[in-house]
């Protein structure tokens, strides 16, 4: 396996990629009109966080790899959240027959 401390790839490369992914997620969160796409944007943000955690774990905490454990928990919770999100979306779709965020205005947003 490669020796990471000697490698050309630095920690920063991973952090930059994660920051980019996070910002794309934020943009999608604000601008998506389809509720499913909002869910997807949130998954992008969570993946950015995981990338951060894994990079830190590998470069700065290589012995104890607590970041990897944290990432496993994030993956678990994200799956639960996605399942609940789908259930709520289905339940709402039965009542409203739309997924357009702008139409969800029974309650003032």
């Amino acid at each position: 396996m490669f020796d990471l401390s000697q490698g050309i790839l630095s920690l920063q490369a991973y952090l930059l990629l994660a920051a980019f992914l996070f910002c794309i997620g934020v943009w999608g969160l604000i601008n998506s009109r389809n509720a499913v796409r909002v869910l997807m944007s949130i998954e992008l943000m969570l993946n950015a966080v995981n990338l951060n955690l894994m990079a830190f774990s590998s470069y700065l905490d290589g012995n104890l790899i607590r970041g990897q454990v944290f990432a496993v928990f994030v993956i678990t919770v994200a799956a639960a959240e996605a399942a609940v999100g789908l259930a709520i979306l289905l339940s709402l779709y039965r009542n409203r027959v739309t997924v357009d965020m702008e139409q969800f205005n029974l309650l003032r947003w």
Partner: protein, 523 residues
Amino acid sequence: MPEMGALLLVTQTSTAPGELLNLALNAGAVAPEGCVLIAMLGTLLVDLIGEQTAARWAPPICYLGLGSALILLALQWDAPLEPSFLGAFLADKLAIAFRAVVALSTLLSLLISWRYAKQSGSPAGEYAAILLAATLGAMLLCGATDLVSVFVSLETLSVASYLLSGYMKTDARSSEAALKYLLVGSAAAAVFLYGASLLYGISGTTSLASIGISLSNSPTPLAALALVFILSTVAFKIAAVPFHQWTPDVYEGSPTPVVAFLSVGSKAAGFALALRLLVGCFGAFDTQWKLLFTVLAILSMTLGNVVALAQTSMKRMLAYSSIGQAGFVMIGLVCGTEDGFAAMVLYMAAYLFMNLGAFACVILFSIRTGSDRISDYAGLYQKDPLITLGLSLCLLSLGGIPPMIGFFGKIYLFFAGWADHQYLLVVVGLITSVISIYYYISVIKMMVVKEPKEASEVVKTYPPIQWSNVGMPSLRFALLGCVVFTAIGGILSNPLFQWANNTVIGTPLLQQAIAMSNHQSLG
């Protein structure tokens, strides 16, 4: 200071997890949560047998679980303080106090929800199980001392709250509230996680105490960024302006007993989280987060109380009022003195009873009439004196009128703020209190002063009062309990003051922060 950080990293990484296997878990600290968990599983099991059995046995199982959790919490009060689960959880007095508030709020919310669930046709067994899971998450959040535990317990609370707010699935407004809550809440969780990952990167550990030490050694711009991320999530959880937009919608759309839990239990857990993270972890950024929280508190008090004036729906008015109330509690957080923290604990305990009492009355009114509009309460005192009296007392207490318990809580908060020279906060708090009294009184005036012929259509066709239906006796019990405590709690407030002060004295985390701020002000 890279050398310093590297040194710190070496000292922290000396123990491999394999060697930790021999250490004591000290798992007795989470025995109250164990009771809640057993009650949750019991509720699910009786729910498998059938709808009738669940309706019969779920309530006593829940009462038993939550009651024994409260008793175990009381027994923990004087136990020696030891970190449990190898540093993932700490049952200090602060955690015990906030866990008691959470468990009690669940107990009271359950008492008032059986009739509501029955009438709206929702399955009660799963409802109770999910509410107990939310309680479990909130209670563990109050004592979690590790970023991973904080995250998982926060998400348990949040996911359960999303499910609960969408529980009336035939009502489009409930589903819509749940979807909005889910999307905003998951985004907030992702932002929290980004901040948490930065903290992990700075310190190389997930324990809050170690992160606090490493932040005080090297306060970098990265740490400030992590503070902003984490603070926005905390502000979301306690619904501080400008992170409050979800609150009125979720409160209006969700089933009312769920709102009762969210406005007290979830908020108490949020404040415990704020104390753990900001006081325990960001001690090095004391001035920065206090400044940010001052701004949040002023905005919350002003906007919450002013917008509440214009509301026509009772639930929406209580939602905005709860935003304002959170602003008052933040005064104690900003002070950072012994009195400030004690006032926070005291006010949360008082808020538990007065807010749940108000919600019990609102639920009873909506069960009997199906209405939620403030104008429909006109002339109610002739038809239903109990609701009128209970709601009046609770609203007066929320507004801070003596001799209710809310008055003592609020005066203690303002006193603590004044003693710590937070004059701006206290003045804004006083002015907005007066505004809040105005809209609370206008509801009371609506109920009491109107002539019989001016009564609303809903009140004119008011059904005869019955207490014999399923779930009504428990609702009456909760209502009377809350109202009586709100009314006479003020007279008996001395033991409560003692309790709140003991909480702060017995919590090493808060004592350290107080000592540090004293040191700063002297030097």
